[in-house]
Symmetry: C2
DNA sequence: AATTCCGCTTGATAAAAGTCAAGAAACTGC
DNA sequence: GCAGTTTCTTGACTTTTATCAAGCGGAATT
């Protein structure tokens, strides 16, 4: 099944907007869009389970996608939850033939899939693009290192605070109203805790820092107070670099 | 200060042995060794603290080097502990000008340092090498994902078991005698727990799986029993891929 | 409007890990 | 070999998080 010209152009526009693809010439992007697929996936859809063959690189345009692994005992570890501008499946770019984790849509999401061989070829051809990919992977790794640090030195309420602060970058002062982008259960697992613990920890965070919670909506009057409570147990100071 | 020809040759031999450098031509490696420095560092030496300028890529030849971060509250998070064949400082290869963590020698170590600009130049020139670097970084990231999973789904005794199993790869059966490569305190922090917890958890692991501990020496009669106890809480099965 | 379902909260309790303090064992340097 | 330091273990206790079970409340279904 081939795409209409309009669809291809749309995909191309989306790809062009990605910093990762900045070093690519237009005709290369056009080549990508020729073989790319764009789909709107419903909440709950499993894009693929863990350990399936890895032939595509995915880009999230909107919504949220959860990456996870399951243990033999049935426990689930959420590795990451991705949104606009995030890629997954990039392991395929360097010789990993199976997806190390599964992917599930946790909020209706638009996703573009590009055959990995196209990207691998271009990495070999264009070293600037190769650098771009390397940089992306390096950032991912750095984020993981931070994650490990957080899980060892921060308490549950602090991890929630840190999570909330990511959504109020730059607003260093003044009241902020935000609402949780996906189910609390998913946030809990993303932060490495049980839903019950999340619920109680959020309550404690409320008491300690004076924020208000109503359903998925969180109101923060004093960001600084939240920063004080949260970032004392971290090695970088707010606003933290990606 | 310039190196003797013999030193340069020695360095070159070490670099040639690295899978990461496999795509490099001999003359390029010779160029690296021209500007590289090789040193023997004593246990306890801090190679650099966190957030210092990042001008070199390091390769560990022997011994052990700990990468760590410290929080404002004074807690330490050990990000990794490296040995023969491991690199660090590779963040410098993609635009990160400061070391995100500090490095401390935890067992007398030989380390080679190479100016990063040399490597960056070569990545741009040789796309196969670029791929090699990307692959290295990708593996690092995968390992981090596993680490995060371990810390969420494994208990302290299980994490110790997993740690021990890394030293008895392939010996799927039969008794194994090994001894801990560095101080138990460092192992504890590497695994994200307190030394006291480590001590007790090791005791529990002993009771549960029938291994014996005397000082830094661990004797495992039945590897399978250890695997059963440890890997039930993991998403990959023993022997696990790197 | 009643029903069902799902996500979330709450309570009671258990398990795991951290903390503080003291002592034992191992390693150093003389 | 001995004194002194460091590393490791153990005990008593606290804090944190998980577990199990019940119940609440909103959204979708009929």
């Amino acid at each position: 099944m081939s795409l209409t010209s309009a669809q291809k152009t749309l995909i191309q526009t989306h790809l062009r907007a990605q910093p990762l693809f900045k070093p690519l010439r237009d005709d290369v992007l056009a080549g990508f869009s020729e073989y790319a697929v764009m789909r709107l996936e419903k909440k709950g859809t499993v894009l693929f389970p863990a350990d399936t063959p890895n032939e595509k690189i995915y880009l999230v345009l909107s919504g949220w996608v959860k990456l996870f692994r399951e243990t033999l005992a049935g426990d689930e570890a959420v590795v990451d939850v991705l949104t606009t501008g995030n890629f997954f499946g990039e392991f395929g770019l360097s010789g990993h033939d199976v997806m190390p984790y599964g992917a599930e849509v946790v909020e209706d999401a638009e996703v573009i899939a590009i055959p990995r061989f196209l990207i691998v070829e271009e990495i070999m051809r264009n070293s600037l693009f190769g650098m771009s990919v390397l940089q992306n992977m390096t950032n991912q790794r750095l984020q993981r290192d931070m994650e490990i640090e957080h899980r060892t030195v921060q308490s549950a309420p602090q991890r929630i605070g840190c999570f909330l602060l990511k959504f109020c970058r730059s607003h260093t002062a003044g009241p902020v109203v935000l609402h949780l982008p996906y189910d609390k259960t998913v946030v809990a697992h993303r932060l490495g805790m049980q839903p019950e613990t999340f619920s109680r920890a959020l309550g404690k965070l409320r008491d300690e820092t004076g924020l208000r919670v109503r359903g998925a909506t969180v109101e923060i009057d004093d960001v600084r107070r939240l920063v004080d409570y949260t970032c004392s147990a971290c090695s970088s100071s707010f606003p933290c670099a990606e």
